[in-house]
Symmetry: C2
Amino acid sequence: MVVLCGGVGAARFLEGVVRVVDAQSLTAIVNVGDDAEFHGLHVSPDIDTILYTLAGLVDPDQGWGVRGDTHLVQTELARLGRDTWFQLGDRDLATHIHRTALLHEGVPPTEVTARLARSLGVRARILPASDERQATMVRTDRGWLPFQEYFVHRRQQDDVREVRFDGAATPAPGVIDAIGDARVILVAPSNPIVSIGPILALAGVRAALARTQAPVVAISPIVGGEALKGPAAAMLASLGHEVSPAGVARLYADFLDVMVLDERDAALAPRIESAGPRAVVAPAIMRDLAAKEQLARIAIDAAGAPAVA
Amino acid sequence: MVVLCGGVGAARFLEGVVRVVDAQSLTAIVNVGDDAEFHGLHVSPDIDTILYTLAGLVDPDQGWGVRGDTHLVQTELARLGRDTWFQLGDRDLATHIHRTALLHEGVPPTEVTARLARSLGVRARILPASDERQATMVRTDRGWLPFQEYFVHRRQQDDVREVRFDGAATPAPGVIDAIGDARVILVAPSNPIVSIGPILALAGVRAALARTQAPVVAISPIVGGEALKGPAAAMLASLGHEVSPAGVARLYADFLDVMVLDERDAALAPRIESAGPRAVVAPAIMRDLAAKEQLARIAIDAAGAPAVA
């Protein structure tokens, strides 16, 4: 099984997935367009969120970072005059220090991530979407901003007029094969523009998704016109997309077989199906572990049914 | 005033010096032969020890590191499988992260150190001996070891058969001028081989010390046949030097005007003086701040008297 992933929403969904299928049969292909350097350290927010979540270390309130983490180093970095708007906890910093040291030694990101996963006891295969640097850039009324500048520093206050992905063009080794070999492909309830979008922008990924015989099932990150998490709703709107599971399904139209949408949006099911994909209505808000598991089970069951497209 | 410095012994002596002279008139030229990379971070142990000491942050028991520091990041780095024999506290790590980030941006070590000093409120000028990488290597019965491997990892258990300095050949901008412009030059009670030695090995430093009209006053790091701190005594012995202030004076013979030695070694004064330098006998063990100040005052007063050489 392959799951295309962003950060927090995907991590929560994966918590459910690993209760339904053996984690060792799971490959998470994870967005690296949010990656950034802070204090010379390479930070991979989506990968770390997924690692920490599957390792049982994540801060449950934030959905990212390490539970109970302290910020001693960051306090000191601020005292030394550094910008510290991007929160880096002490235990979290160890991950970034280790990753950066390995990258400087020439270890590719896929191998760095595999080692981190092993050290943290994560059994699923966590695959960065690319081994090259990929930088999601968003155009706002203040001009083009690096993603974290928009997302964390300016707290998503700017309307996004355009999105582009700089750098990486090639998916990481294993990505295309994982898609081709998968019996089920899930698209996590992540931001379709800046979480799933960078993965889809890599050469051959969309084509591999369109080509595979395996059913591709997306879980809508939009429920009742709002995003489960983050700026997806505002971003879809300002980019001229419909802020609904139907709008998301359209962005995935060339490869999507099933769209899982929340009960609140049940009325949209016929319209989604008229465009091609089957629509599966389910409780899509992951309030607790049971809800995550239920959503994962519904998505996987939906894949088992004959695909419409 | 210029002081040639190693780490802990020099830092303790400088605490006394800044009680006797205005810190702003002081340039500490500090050994960088101990510098090393850990986890991809550039660590300058002697510079940091001096910065933390003059900033009032140092751990008073160890003589290095930050008082009350924690080791959360290091614990996590160990969990990720990294070697953590070199202790790095959390607050201390911020210094290394900041330094490394600036070095990667192309800021030279002299400027990095000046910024750190400013951020920490240190008014003395702290000058790395070189802006180039210099690596002190020691030959033991296990072969050539990088300094920290010998010093920290193997706890100085090996006899040192030979010492060499790899890399840097050129002193940092300002070093030769500081020596030439100084009215008094002090050599801190640091290890003459691996703390002062790397500074003296840089092109033009010994010549500048020999040439200057200013008195050069060394404080013996050896008292009663033992080192005030660290492996200086064993190292002098295994390298065939006399383990005494007279032995140290001989290593500085080409530029030394005054040797300050402890009362315990008073009997050596005539022998030192017969070789050239004046010998000043004083309580040379820095038990408390008063003792540090007294030793600094004696060294500076000794410089005021007409030099013998």
